[in-house]
Symmetry: C2
Subunit: 341 residues, 2 copies
DNA sequence: CTGAAAGCGCTTACAG
DNA sequence: CTGAAAGCGCTTACAG
């Protein structure tokens, strides 16, 4: 007799119900294969003992956890929150549990988290962006853990992916800015190293500039870590130039919110004195004053489709081509004509 | 010989290195107990095979995962994000991995997630708020998984906790509102059911009202799910009353941001026409226009101390009394004197 | 310092 | 429909 304080096992239940462990296991996993009379007896024992299966043992024996891991750069400011919420909901209705961890935008932390989640038996992984050490992809392949890349898209991507073309999207927005007569354009970019979304968005601005006769090296680009404060600091710096920009394009809405705050602090009216744009269209974009012109990303659609695609891979389905979602430019108050145009 | 595609096991490594599995296990877990020559040989085999320990097996054999689970109501709007980030950082430096899941404020989902995390071998759990089915606490006790409650505090709490007194904090803010002459006070509360933070904050407002001769039933209270939109709708409704309030106190900053937006949409100036307050002091509070008067919560401090306390419990330390953190009222632009005062 | 072997708590062919 | 038993991949006393 083991002490009553210890956690009951399958064996305890089997003894109490007077059946084999196999039968108890079946009652729990495929109840239709057990006759009702014994099933009832077993379930009574389960309840009486307060039995819960040991997950480690179960995983080891069944090779399956119904757990999906998501590794995102940050949980702050809800850039990924909305998409992730939809992702979780879609997983949940299909019987999977989502476990999330974040990396603070540090590749070495991401690697740790990937290994941690794989080690904990994740059946599949959601990763943000495609740029990472090839060894990691090889590792995932060796471990036979499917990974789906989200928030990024390119037709030639080597891995299963769902997202949008960050470069083309930002180019589209930059075209709108240039169309309003802006020639002196400032850019507040998130740190580019290890962040393909940031670097591609920056390239998109350069693409549009080149196409309209603005030499990309004339763009005044400030690169800064992600945050409201850092966005505000960058804006302050940009507007103190001898020839300050008439429009400032930010790598995301959070940086843009910081830029707006800095503009107000400097007594500059937006968009009369300077236009500001963002990217992502998170809730923030419609809360700030003035409301923010930005690129709308279909967060929930991406989350839901990512869940369906990833489960498909986990359950042995074929790898499809990368999926591209459509974005759109949201024109709001913060973008106006160039001051001196 | 197993097919080369399958995942290498301890046994494979042992064979390749010509040692026993025990020795391989020791190399990985307590390398100082193996002489360097054989250790090198083993490590070479580990690398050659690309071996990673199977977590399930390890958990089952060792009864320890160095995993902490956190279950939060929502990942959106970063109410919990900042505290959680600090929590994660503190865990990480101490060798623990954080896994997060969210419940969309639904108790039954929380229960599932708690069981899921326990089943997956979490060594300890961080939970938000103290109000939940007692059976859940009994379950955790039976499973011997320590749980720490955060974001809530009361001297008589039955479980390990770190947080602040939501009721007293909101009362403090309400006193400030009343001190500015407001007598007609509207309240936009988050849904109270199953959310002790929301109900205690509401009680705090009633406490202050009673203390200053305002019958609590004269407060116009609207209860609404969490969100910007819902906050805006509630505000619209409040301001359409025959005798609209001169101040609207919101259960959190997100609802307050919605209220500010609604006020603007209705052509009302804040705080000239109506004052608005929040709770939490998330980044949003300083981004909105006007800036938001709110209750400042020490998110990062709470996260860091929670990590230290929870690890203490996980590693067998004694259960201390609930820890109370100090909050403060942040007076900003959105609170002014009562219009008709 | 190292190995043989038991055991962790499940699942699942295989028989019956 | 049910059971005996092997096996999942590790860790850890216990010997030597």
């Amino acid at each position: 007799m083991r002490p009553s304080r210890s956690i009951p096992t399958l064996d305890d239940v089997a003894k109490k119900a007077g059946v084999s462990t196999a039968t108890v296991s079946r009652c729990l996993n495929s109840p239709e294969r057990v006759v009702q009379t014994t099933r009832k007896r077993v379930m009574k024992a389960v309840d009486a003992l307060g039995y819960t299966p040991n997950f480690g043992a179960r995983v080891m024996a069944a090779k399956r956890t119904f757990t999906i891991g998501a590794i995102i750069p940050t949980m702050e400011n809800s850039i990924f929150a909305r998409g992730l919420q939809a992702f979780q909901e879609a997983l949940h209705t299909r019987g999977y549990t989502l476990l999330v961890s974040s990396t603070a935008y540090r590749p070495e932390v991401e690697e740790e988290q990937i290994r941690a989640l794989v080690a904990r038996g994740a059946d599949g992984l959601l990763l943000i962006g495609h740029e990472r050490d090839p060894a990691l992809y090889r590792y995932l392949e060796r471990q036979a853990v499917p990974a789906l890349i989200a928030w990024a898209y390119a037709p030639d991507m080597q891995h299963p992916a769902i997202g949008f073309d960050n470069r083309a999207a930002m180019r589209l927005l930059a075209e709108e800015v240039i169309a309003r007569g802006h020639r002196r354009i400032g850019v507040i970019s998130a740190t580019v190293k290890g962040n393909d979304r940031a670097s591609e968005r920056l390239e998109g601005i350069k693409d549009a500039a080149s196409a309209h006769g603005i030499p990309p090296e004339h763009l005044c680009v400030i690169e800064t870590p992600y945050g409201i404060e850092t966005g505000a600091d960058a804006m302050t710096q940009l507007m103190q130039e001898l020839q300050p920009p008439t429009a400032v394009m930010c790598g995301n809405d959070v940086l843009a919110a910081g830029a707006l705050r800095a503009a107000r602090a400097m007594g500059l009216a937006v968009p009369e004195d300077v236009s500001v744009t963002g990217f992502d269209d998170i809730e923030l974009a419609r809360i700030v004053t003035p409301t923010l012109t930005t690129v709308h990303v279909p967060h929930r659609e991406m989350g839901t489709k990512a869940a369906i695609a990833l489960i498909g891979l986990v359950e042995g389905g074929p790898v499809g081509p990368p999926v591209e979602l459509q974005i759109s430019v949201e024109l709001r108050e913060s973008l106006g004509p160039a001051k001196s145009a």
